[in-house]
């Protein structure tokens, strides 16, 4: 199945701009479904970006992050062709990981 992570990393000189969009319900646990039952909390807690063996960005998320979450940041010290490893884990033990080439 296609990865739940879409990531775009573009190097611009020494700065690499990273955008990520992740397919995840990010349920808060405070919403009821059509039948009136509470949809249990199900959200990504940690999202990590690693490049050249080093953490370049670590996100700790709560239930207030939007569905299909999106994040953008930039970092120095990488160049075109380097691998950017992206991985997340959620409160139900779910996880996914992918590796993208910096273009």
């Amino acid at each position: 199945m296609a990865s739940s992570i879409r990531v775009r990393a573009t190097a611009n000189g020494d700065i690499t701009e990273v955008q990520a969009l992740i397919q995840h319900p990010m349920d808060t646990g405070l919403v009821k479904d059509a039948k009136g039952e509470v949809i249990p909390a199900h959200f990504i807690q940690r999202l990590k970006f690693e490049c050249n063996g080093k953490d370049v960005f670590v996100a700790d998320w709560g239930t207030a992050v939007s569905k299909d979450p999106y994040v953008k940041f930039s970092f120095k010290g990488a160049k075109k062709g380097d691998d950017l490893k992206v991985s997340w884990t959620d409160n139900k033990g779910g996880s996914d990981t992918t590796t993208a080439k910096i273009s």
């Binding site: 296609a2 879409r6 990520a20 969009l21 397919q23 569905k67 299909d68 999106y70 953008k72």
Partner: protein
């Protein structure tokens, strides 16, 4: 007990008198779609002189700078990205009988969205893209998709994406039934319904750019060019059918079944009067 209905009756009679005296009640005139389209577009071009003509297809974002900025930020990595990929994958996945959607559509279904809906002279009715997709599925022994759910939205998202930038190009063939369908769509567009007593025009012609609570109303011109749309309110994709159904229930009118004749005709009318404006689907909306 019947006194109450007598009072209600006379109250309604007063309303009728008021409605009939409104100045512009004109005898049934000849239906002229070309003139309609020109008048329709000029109405918006004059009402919003600063809005570039092709920007009308961006709905509320052509009406409000703050909203446009929020939208452009979202467009850098739009939420309909997943539906687009799913649609592309579905288009490439053959049915059980080995055929694919490409076999049902001219040019393999690529870059043709701007010609939908079209009037099918054989059937004597308007055929929308969503209807054609389901008919293609049924012709190939597959179960049809729901008109208001994600699968249909993914397919139409992909087909719209392949037509991005192409001007809307809807034809009305020389067939009295086509003219009747167009006129029926126009009537539906201007007819008030629901306990709120709104027509599509009450919001999208009389008050585009105004707010209904958090949302800015989109102009009717080019309003379908961005379909299907990912709506934050639905936190999911929405087809044209879903938009018509939810708009109805917002005015407290019981919606018709998706792809009812009235919905097909109003889509035909709204697409025709937007001829020349670019396709911008799939879109992201509040």
């Amino acid at each position: 007990m019947n006194a109450r209905f007598f009072l209600l009756g006379s109250l309604s009679a007063a309303l009728v008198a008021f409605a009939l005296t409104s100045p512009r009640v004109i005898a049934a005139d000849k239906v002229d779609p070309v003139a309609d389209a020109k008048a329709f577009q000029n109405f918006f071009f004059q009402k919003f002189p600063t809005v570039k003509h092709e920007d009308f297809v961006n709905g509320p974002y052509s009406m409000n700078e703050d909203m446009k900025r929020q939208w452009q930020e979202k467009e850098e990595f739009p939420p309909y990205e997943f539906a687009l990929d799913a649609g592309k994958e579905m288009f490439a996945t053959p049915f059980r009988n080995g055929k694919t959607y490409a076999d049902c559509f001219p040019n393999g279904g690529i870059g043709i969205r701007q010609n939908y809906p079209y009037f099918d002279t054989g059937e004597g009715k308007v055929v929308t893209l969503e209807l054609a997709l389901n008919r293609c599925r049924e012709a190939n022994g597959e179960a049809p998709y729901s008109y208001v759910k994600d699968e249909m939205a993914s397919l139409t998202a992909y087909m719209a994406f392949t037509s991005r930038g192409k001007p809307m190009d809807i034809k009305i063939p020389d067939d009295p039934r086509a003219l009747a369908a167009y006129e029926n769509g126009k009537r539906y567009f201007y007819t008030r319904r629901g306990q709120m007593n709104f027509s599509c025009a009450s919001c999208h012609v009389q008050s585009p750019g105004e707010r209904i609570r958090a949302e800015i109303l989109a102009p009717a011109l080019g309003i379908l060019n961005a379909m299907p749309i990912y709506r934050s309110e639905w936190s999911g994709m929405g087809t044209t059918s879903r938009r018509f159904v939810t708009c109805n229930s917002q005015t407290r009118a019981v919606p018709l079944e998706p792809q009812a004749d009235e919905y097909r005709d109003v889509e035909y009318f709204l697409s025709y009067v937007a001829n020349g404006l670019p396709i911008s689907g799939p879109g992201a909306r509040p």
